[in-house]
């Protein structure tokens, strides 16, 4: 199995990235929730969930991401999911068949993610 990591990347000024690599499911969902909570607690302008290096995500992870999105909207933080330019097929598929691509919203590159995390008005 690919290394399962969840890390905070704070090198982008007022935008925080939570970088999710490898396979994630109910076992690591609590860690992801904690990491997303911590990032939101820092009141960034924007929060990016970076899935570009993730190889498997289940509905526990979608639940954690949706909860972070809800909290971000409430507190006026821009929230965006970066799927990367070459996403793992299964990760892309779960986002597509659940119709969540426009909901999160999902973008396809780090640049685009930073841009919309900085610029987008946090609409509800």
């Amino acid at each position: 199995m690919d290394a399962r990591t969840i890390a905070l990347d704070a090198r982008h000024g007022d935008v925080l990235l939570v970088v999710i690599r490898g396979e994630h499911d109910i076992y690591t969902a609590p860690k992801l929730r904690d990491q997303l909570d911590e990032a939101l607690g820092q009141r960034p302008v924007g929060l990016v969930a970076d899935l570009s290096g993730s190889t498997f995500l289940d509905s526990s992870i979608l639940g954690a991401l949706l909860e972070a999105r809800r909290q971000a909207l409430e507190s006026g933080v821009n929230f965006v999911v970066n799927l990367g330019e070459e996403p793992e097929a299964g990760v892309q598929r779960i986002l597509e068949i659940t119709g969540l691509v426009p909901v999160f919203p999902v973008v396809r590159s780090a640049g685009e993610a930073l841009e919309s995390a900085r610029a987008a008005p946090a609409d509800a």
């Binding site: 499911d25 109910i26 076992y27 498997f56 289940d58 509905s59 097929a89 598929r93």
Partner: protein
């Protein structure tokens, strides 16, 4: 079905879900399973195992999770079984053992990603979810059993009401 069965029997704990998923990858490897079929099977089997971990047993009580995998000429079938409380009728949207924010997408995902599935068992009987993944698909099961609706305000997924006229 008398195909030889790979059986896993393990504690119904969060860390067990990855064990089942990895074993499935090993089984798929012996079948030279197509990438999309494998990735759908990984997802559906993960959701079924997660349900056994999250819903089947009283919190703090360690139940077992049993998984059978068998391949015939046309499909890989995976059966996920627990000896827990069984599917309960929902009362006021609340789940007996659900942790904070069970999203409610597990069974819809299983339906969308398997070519055939069946859920057996009632209150007190445990639960058994059987899923078949065809090697060759006539159609994308996710198009035949699409996931409707979206995240509701409560945090749980809200499925669209089926159209009574349709």
């Amino acid at each position: 079905m008398d195909a030889p069965v790979v059986r896993l029997d393990l504690p119904a704990r969060p860390e067990g879900v990855g064990v089942v998923r990895q074993a499935l990858v090993g089984v798929a490897d012996g079948l030279a399973l197509d990438g999309t079929v494998l990735s759908d099977a990984k997802m559906a089997v993960t959701e079924a195992c997660t349900n056994a971990v999250v819903h089947a047993y009283e919190p703090g009580h360690d139940g077992r999770l049993e998984v059978d995998m068998f391949a015939d000429d046309a499909a890989l079938t995976v059966v996920v079984r627990d000896a827990g409380i069984g599917m309960q009728p929902r009362e006021d949207g609340q789940d007996t053992h659900a942790p904070t924010a069970a999203l409610g997408l597990g069974l819809p995902l299983i339906a969308a990603l398997s070519d055939e599935f069946e859920v057996r068992g009632g209150p007190g009987d445990g639960t058994e979810v059987s899923m078949a993944f065809n090697y060759e698909r006539a159609a994308d099961p996710a198009a035949e059993n699409p996931i409707t609706g979206g995240p509701g305000p409560s945090g749980r997924w809200t499925l669209d009401e089926p159209d009574p006229a349709g």
